[in-house]
Symmetry: C2
């Protein structure tokens, strides 16, 4: 069958070589006679999977020893609750940078944790989140941490440089651009990311957290406690074995491709191709301010909901799927994660050019 290009925002395209390896060894992992889904999480087979996955993630992101790596469940949304419960414990105050939908979801969830004071120190609302708000360290008030959504999947914005806030740690939601561009882990107190974009299948959340922050956390229910989860090396109960195995294969693939710097180079190239076309098109445009644009999530519109719909149908007919924009903003969105090939961007632009030509003639 024809090649399908999957632009979904997540769950999203995975490296073909990884999927082929999963398929090859699905019935018998390492000649054990058992599927990787059937092996015990207390077996040496799984211990090696987890150890290698963590080791390779540390290599890819240059994670120093003073940071713990956790493989959890519940998605970024559970982190919206866990971070406040575990880390907003001295001042019981969190400062939020409001960059759009997911930042607001993090704010809403923090407000549901008893006794936490939430301050929105800056917001992109004035620009309808089409550009990132200005941040400087004078903004930071008196908080346990500042929360930032590094890449805004729906709005298509991303911080290239991480702001600093004196001594206050930054907790970063990196769900949609982890491993897709270079950040310094040491700029953060904690980083978290749902796996289903750049890491692997849905059902896994990666948390990278500075050990001194873990140690201070209170006596919480086990599955909500970074301290207890770190103490049990993410196997406090049965971890999502298959998802960790897939993530491990993706990390190996990333290393073989040249790591995060190579991914950033490719993602810049892919996104530049699309942004350049959008900026020259008379039918399609990017609603996002140039300096705020994401490398991984690129929303675009015609400015006419009926035309948007027609284009999405045409794209589908051309095996370009998952282009429908998020229900909150409409239009289209191309998510160009690490595993998304440049050929898919080229094909998208070809189809957009065709559509543009037809709709120029109509005008």
């Amino acid at each position: 069958m024809a090649i399908v290009y999957n632009f979904s925002a997540g769950p999203a395209v995975m490296p073909k070589e990884v999927l082929e390896k999963v398929q090859r060894e699905l019935l018998s992992y390492k000649n054990s006679g058992m599927s990787v889904m059937e092996i015990s999480h207390r077996s040496s087979l799984f211990a090696d999977i987890q150890k290698n996955a963590e080791g390779n993630l540390r290599k890819l992101m240059n994670i120093p020893d003073e940071y713990d790596v956790l493989f959890l469940q519940g998605g970024a949304t559970l982190q919206f609750t866990m971070a406040p419960m575990n880390l907003a414990i001295n001042k019981k105050k969190i400062d939020f940078v409001d960059t759009g939908h997911w930042a607001q979801r993090a704010i809403e969830e923090a407000r549901l944790v008893d006794g936490i004071e939430v301050t929105q120190i800056t917001s992109g609302a004035d620009s309808k989140y089409t550009s990132l708000p200005e941040i400087d360290d004078s903004l930071q008030e008196d908080a346990d941490y500042v929360h930032i959504t590094l890449n805004n999947t729906i709005e298509g914005t991303a911080f290239k440089i991480v702001p600093t806030f004196k001594e206050v740690p930054i907790i970063g939601d990196m769900s949609s651009n982890i491993l897709g561009q270079r950040y310094n882990v040491t700029d953060f107190g904690m980083i978290y990311a749902g796996a289903q974009k750049n890491i692997g299948p849905a059902g896994l959340t990666v948390v990278i957290i500075r050990h001194d922050l873990v140690e201070k956390s209170p006596d919480l229910p086990a599955m909500l406690s970074y301290k207890k989860l770190v103490a049990k090396n993410s196997t406090l109960n049965t971890p999502p074995v298959f998802a960790i195995y897939c993530a491990g294969l993706v990390f190996e693939w990333l290393l073989a491709q040249g790591g995060v710097d190579e991914m950033e180079k490719r993602n810049r190239k892919k996104s530049k191709l699309l942004y350049d076309y959008l900026d020259s098109s008379s039918v399609f445009q990017s609603p996002v301010a140039i300096e705020s644009r994401s490398l991984t999530n690129i929303p675009f519109v015609t400015g006419n909901a009926e035309l948007d719909k027609q284009f999405i149908a045409l794209a589908n007919d051309n095996n370009l799927v998952g282009l429908k924009g998020h229900r909150l903003v409409g239009g289209m969105r191309a998510s160009l994660y690490n595993a998304f090939p440049i050929e898919g961007v080229e094909k998208l632009i070809t189809v957009m050019e065709k559509f543009e030509l037809e709709h120029k003639e109509v005008d």
Copy 2:
């Protein structure tokens, strides 16, 4: 290679036909050109997967309409926290039946939820949990619910009949025998189960909950709120797509095999074979009282830790894996879940007989 029989307590053996189907369609689900791991959780492809999985689970367990079915993450351990937060809200009291390790873990976690009074109304501690405690409805005190671990994976005990407690709902942990024997859903306020034993791969938790209990729950963080998760039909955030897909295939397989009653028949046959052998052996024995014995988890011992070790090594040499007992109790354990074939029990007994013969000669 030789057939391997996997006696692991979980993650555990899955039906071969299911694994083969997963393998066949891993690169292109329903000719979509995308792996099931790559499809959006908002796509109609996934909506159908979830709808069919829920429908088939309802058929298998005769789940009435007034019960909601949730596909969650975090394992049974997160339910130890969520159930108290959501359901112990009027009297703020929970009664627990102490049947061993996992019941105690549920008790410990309930104690970590603010303002909950926990009462252990009965305990199997006197018998070292080798038999189930007596229960009658006079035991129930004045609680929001009574918590029971239906099948005790480590101790090898299981309730065949669900006790009643007048008007007080029962919350049942059915992680290790859900779908392996018949229970009436209507005997429970809520049932929960980690998937990694009788349902599918680790990383999925099934919750079946009476709707009136859901409606009363307070305004909790989204991922900890049954009410909010029910309102969003388990897709409040990205669900574990692949695990739900696999669970759906297992449910289809169970229906094709004849459903829960057929599974119970087979599990009775498999476990009887092993219990009969154990009760006649001069080397191996079951530590569990006959009337309390589990159909799915069968611990056994020689009474000599060195012999246990030798037997486990011999079993491994014969491709019988995962027989090492839980670290808390030692010895051996054979977990005979739905997907475990009777041929594996027969082979185990053959190897046990051989071992017995050798050790009779030594004596």
